[in-house]
Amino acid sequence: MANEANDWVAGMCNEKSGFLFSHECYHAPSETCTGCQKPICTEHAHADGAAFQCTSCVKKNRSRESSTRSGRRSTYDHYDDPYFYSGYYFGHSNYGRGFHHRDHDPFDFTEADGQGLAGDMDDTFENDMSAS
């Protein structure tokens, strides 16, 4: 169900999809998603004809479509977009493609992502003598 327009925060992109982890996007909005009416920036706006949809709505639509069809992906799908790698973004080949092929959201690797990448702390445990 779409949110009411007044649920969205004005003046900033309200999309939270990220390449690795969900997080706030602080870019200025340039479009409004036709699916849920949220303000979105150019990075999170996906052309749908003359209109734009946010990453979350495109993901939802894609999910619905994939559940009702079989066979190969359409060349018009968004599978080259790193925002849609969720579910297998730890796969080596896809990770590499996404990172190198697209000038994606500069906020993608944020501190929040670092915290989400808890596995990276393995090397820190019992190595950081200033930890507590």
């Binding site: 702390m121 445990f125 950081d128 003598m129 930890a131 507590s132």
Partner: protein, 342 residues
Amino acid sequence: MPSPPRKRRWLVYALGGGAGHLIRATALARAAIRSATVFPFGIEICLLTNSPFAEVIPISDELGPGHEVIRIASDLNRDETAQQIHQHLAERDFDVLVVDTFPRGLGGELKDVLPRLRCRKVLIHRDLNPEYCSLVDVAGSLKDFDLLLVPGEPALFSSAAHAIVTAPWLIRDPEELLPPAEARNRLVVDSHTQPVVAVIGCGTVAEIQQMRLLADDLSTRFESAAIRFIAPKSTTAPTKAVAVSTWPFLESIRAVSVIVGSGGYNTVNEATATKTLLIGIARKRLYDRQEKRLRLTGEPIGVSEVADRLATLLHNGVTHNAQQPQYTNGVHQAIELIESAS
């Protein structure tokens, strides 16, 4: 002729950044030294720390003469730190080893040493990051301890057969807190009625600086309150808020209406024990879970939300309880438990 009875020797391992491990361990050691009833010939303390706060907190004064504080440089790497720890353990004869928080040692350096030590081994079991416990065999090291003391908070292994939960451990007993008038005097507050907001400068260097700036900001916004930036060591940087160099802060807490601090063990438990309002900021730590601790008593917030929260509290009116706080300091029970089976 029999040799004269000697003091019991405790070696207290309190490694870890920040001030938390050091203060909790000092609270225990200080109370043990002062406890004449538990062991009639006294207790001799050797406290090991690598906290940078050991340079500014007067630990030696807390313990008094006849005790030892070993300050390991905080900038050593793991191997250098481990080497020093092993050396100190080998050079000393002690009856009790008390390890704060890290059963394997901060760098894992105690793991192979503990089984060989023929003394009573006690772990202060503060909560730990479960991910650390799953990636590193923390549970396996618990069997090397004779006793796990859980200092007043939920902790991962508090249900272990040899774990005993005590009240929180605090650096002062209730009767040691300054009366409100004296406490206000120490915090440089002239008025007897003005609300006092204590912004605690603790944690990392960056966090201390952030709290100092926050105190400045709050001082500008809330002229009706006395905003105090509290740190163990005086800051040379100019501040709009009055900066007070005092330790332990708990002694002055009866002057304070609201504490703005982190979700560290001491700050939260001092506020809770004395029923002082706390605006808690959950800091990210490798092993501790400050957010979880703060959620036990309220809602942790970000630095940017402090001013709004404080405005609400001051608007609603903060009260001053003239009565001396009543709380149980868990260090006393801990000392009895440590010595009872030694």
